[in-house]
């Protein structure tokens, strides 16, 4: 299994980030929402390792807890998009016919929109904070997965084992779940992994525009946008969440690259 070796450090780093996100509330040294106006905007020191924001909240604790909001919602959103897109796409590939035509024409329409343009407009209309922003991103990104899954299914549709399953009277649903999804999972997972970094950035971007997480939520994009006016007077308020986004996106991107090298060697 030599080809998996290069994967390990990145998988470890990504795993650590996800663990951090899941257990964030227990790991944060202070209450990320406790205000103390007398401690407002302190530069980093031995008590507040990354300083405090304008409400006197500990920036380090907010960055840690923020990982939960940013990373977990990105992951959830990615899973939702991937599962929905792949199932729809795989069904289209299996069944063909009218369903296929309708869904593919629909996906043509979605794919015709520049992603962020659509997401910004949709998030503003849907409203409702980070969930609305996530909805907007799901809405625009499922067709990518549908097309990918459909293409993959078309290549395996005439494989003997599918023919055999069909002959033995399995329903479409059984075929889909028992035979198809397992066989197309690899390339879809790689695509999803490569996409995670982008999703984190897009979600943070929507929050940055005020279309995502609501205050006082410690979401990285929102923290940066709320701290923008302090870039000169208290840069730590922006740099900390900015670096957090950068590091996690970088780790997930590297992991995606390595995964692609492993599963899809050119």
């Amino acid at each position: 299994m030599g080809r998996y070796r290069g994967l390990f450090p990145y998988a470890l780093a990504a795993g650590l980030i996800i663990l951090l996100a899941v257990f964030a509330p227990y790991l944060a040294p202070m209450d990320p929402y406790a205000q103390d106006l007398s401690l407002a905007l302190r530069p980093p020191d031995s008590v507040n390792l990354l300083g405090t924001d304008r409400y006197g909240r500990d920036v380090l604790s907010r960055v840690i807890v923020g990982s939960q909001i940013t990373i977990c919602s990105s992951l959830l959103l990615l899973v939702a998009t991937t599962v929905f897109g792949s199932v729809v796409g795989a069904l289209c590939g299996l069944r063909g016919g009218r369903l296929d035509t309708i869904v593919m024409r629909l996906s043509d329409v979605f794919l015709a929109f520049p992603e962020m343009v659509f997401a910004i407009a949709a998030a503003s209309v849907i409203g409702g904070g980070i969930a609305g922003a996530a909805m907007a991103l799901i809405l625009i990104s499922w067709p990518k997965y549908a097309r990918l899954a459909r293409g993959l299914v078309l290549t395996i549709r005439s494989m003997p084992y599918l023919e055999a399953a069909r002959m033995s009277g399995s329903s479409d649903r059984e075929i889909l779940f028992d035979h198809v999804l397992g066989n197309i999972a690899g390339p879809i997972l790689v695509t999803a992994a490569l996409n995670l970094g982008t999703i984190i950035m897009e979600l943070a971007g929507l929050s940055f525009l005020g279309l995502g997480a609501m205050p006082p939520a410690a979401e990285w994009g929102a923290m940066m946008s709320n701290g923008r006016s302090m870039i000169q007077t208290a840069p730590w308020v922006i740099l900390a969440p900015g670096m957090a986004i950068f590091v996690s996106v970088a780790v997930f991107n590297m992991l995606g690259d390595k995964l692609r090298d492993v599963f899809d060697p050119k």
């Binding site: 304008r54 409203g127 205050p215 006082p216």
Partner: protein
């Protein structure tokens, strides 16, 4: 091999350079001039503020007309928001429904035409024909002109008529000259030469009627919505003065050798309305406890960086019917807890929030982010109320109107200019009376409604002030509203800019006094 690789690298670099050269065909423009040019950056000018343009008869465009020295009104507000004549010389109240306004004799529009009673009549008629709010405010039945005077007859008693005429929409323009390329002809010290959604270019009005003549050749007003861009533009010297800088950047301009500040307390108040339809909030003790838990001092000093004054009532302290004339309960967390206990709320399950009949005291707090202070107030209120065991679910959204329409809020925080006309009735009648248009908390008190009717019919500033104070105090005793703070507006400018002063009304920015050394 290595050499040819080097050659390849060089070729690659040359290719990059070639692309660069091919693309950079454009030339450079540089304009040098000896004229005095003043560049002004403001967060207030934009299409989304509905004030882009110069024609005061469109929505809020009058604010632009008056702020940047293009138009002037018949009367203007002094620093204490009392009226003084401007284009008018004086006025006579003929009867309850009729007022005669006499104009100064020496006033001309920037196109040289004299401002006569006839011109003012034409302008006001165009105003009530075209503007959305003016007809309802002014309630004009007829206007007659005679020489240098206009006589306005109202449909009903309108004691605040002159105040309304001093609203920015009351700028007197030459309607005969019309509007060309979004430019109208006013009487102010500067004349617009080009107008877009983001920028107005002005030049000196050589025919200005006032005693003080305009001193600058050209003024560029740039709408810069983003506070940080504005900050850095002023730091980099791209603009000479700025309005609407974020509070967090004020300290960057403390160097008095380089910058000057001009500040004024305005009547823009940050208020929180209690929704009386919420069962928990129908108990005055709960409303009072919440009022006592809002840290107005901390909000103003720390979060607004001292750019404001803690508020008592709706009006600033400088007004006769302002904060000094009324009282509200002070910040007192222990007292607030005691009140909640009296109302039957205690933390029985130890989750940090008080409860009654097994239900936590949990309230929905609605506000919006387009005023930079409101999100700060929301987060501060949320943290303060947590200290007395009240849970606030904050919803700060641009979409707030749909939540408000659906009644999805228990508290609604907003910013409001309480005395745009210097008269108390506008705010009181729209907020305190049963069913009034801005009474988002559905507050209703028959005594208040009676006082409101009395105020509507009362003439004379003193009598009106007295009634206003009674109404304010009643609302405060009922704990219908929390008044957190009044905005202190700031203009920050480079050293050497003279005559740019912040005004409490927020109407007058560029005047003929403005100069640049």
């Amino acid at each position: 091999m290595m050499n040819s690789k080097k050659a390849a690298v060089l070729a690659a670099l040359a290719l990059g350079g070639a692309v660069l050269l091919a693309g950079c065909g454009g030339g450079e423009k540089q304009q040098a001039s000896k004229e005095k040019v003043f560049t002004y950056g403001t967060t207030a000018y934009s299409a989304s503020n509905e004030n882009a343009g110069t024609n005061p008869h469109n929505s809020y465009v009058g604010w632009t007309t008056i702020r940047y020295g293009i138009g002037e009104t018949l009367f203007r507000f002094k620093d204490n928001l009392e009226l003084e004549p401007w284009l008018a010389k004086d006025y006579q109240q003929i009867d309850d429904n009729t007022v005669k306004i006499n104009l100064k004799d020496n006033i001309t529009f920037s196109n040289g035409k004299k401002v006569t009673g006839e011109a003012v009549k034409a302008c006001l008629e165009a105003l009530i024909k075209n503007h959305d709010r003016a007809p309802g405010d002014l309630k004009i039945e007829s206007i007659t002109a005679e020489g240098q005077s206009v006589t306005i007859k109202s449909k009903e008693k309108t004691p605040a008529l002159l105040n309304y005429l001093s609203d920015p929409y009351g700028c007197i323009i030459d309607v005969e000259a019309g509007e060309k390329d979004r430019i109208v002809v006013g009487t102010g010290p500067y004349v617009a030469v080009s107008v877009t959604d983001n920028e107005i270019v002005l030049k000196k009005n050589d025919k200005y009627w006032g005693a003080v003549k305009p001193k600058l050749d050209k003024i560029v007003v740039k709408g810069i919505l983003d506070g940080d861009t504005l900050t850095m533009a002023l730091q980099n010297g791209e603009i000479d003065a700025a309005q609407g800088l974020p509070y967090a950047s004020h300290e960057l301009f403390n160097d008095t050798a380089k910058f000057t500040k001009s500040q004024a307390n305005t009547s823009r108040v940050f208020e929180i309305d209690f929704n009386f339809k919420t069962p928990e909030l129908q108990d005055v003790k709960v409303r009072k406890a919440i009022s006592m838990a809002i840290d107005k001092e901390g909000f103003t000093k720390v979060l607004l960086k001292g750019n404001g004054a803690p508020a008592v009532g709706p009006y600033p302290d400088s007004m006769t019917f302002g904060g000094k004339a009324v009282t509200a309960s002070a910040y007192d967390l222990e007292g607030a807890k005691a009140l909640l206990k009296e109302a039957g709320y205690q933390d029985t399950d130890g989750d940090g929030y008080v409860d009654k009949n097994g239900k936590n005291l949990e309230l929905r707090y609605l506000s919006y982010p387009s005023r930079q202070e409101l999100p700060l107030l929301a987060e501060s209120a949320q943290a303060s109320l947590k200290k007395i065991g009240v849970k606030l679910n904050v919803n700060v959204t641009d979409n707030y109107k749909s939540f408000r329409k659906n009644g999805e809020y228990d508290m609604f925080a907003n910013a409001f200019v309480t005395a745009p006309t210097g008269d108390p009735e506008y705010y009181l009648s729209t907020h305190y009376l049963t069913g009034a248009s801005y009474n988002y908390g559905f507050y209703s008190n028959p005594t208040m409604d009676a006082l409101g009717r009395e105020l509507h019919n009362a003439f004379g500033a003193e009598a009106r002030a007295k009634l206003a104070i009674r109404m304010e105090q009643l609302a405060l005793d009922d704990c219908a509203y929390i008044y957190a703070s009044h905005l202190r507006m700031s203009l920050i400018m480079k050293k050497g800019i003279k005559g740019l002063t912040a005004h409490p009304s927020d109407y007058y920015e560029i005047t003929s006094e403005l100069d640049k050394e």
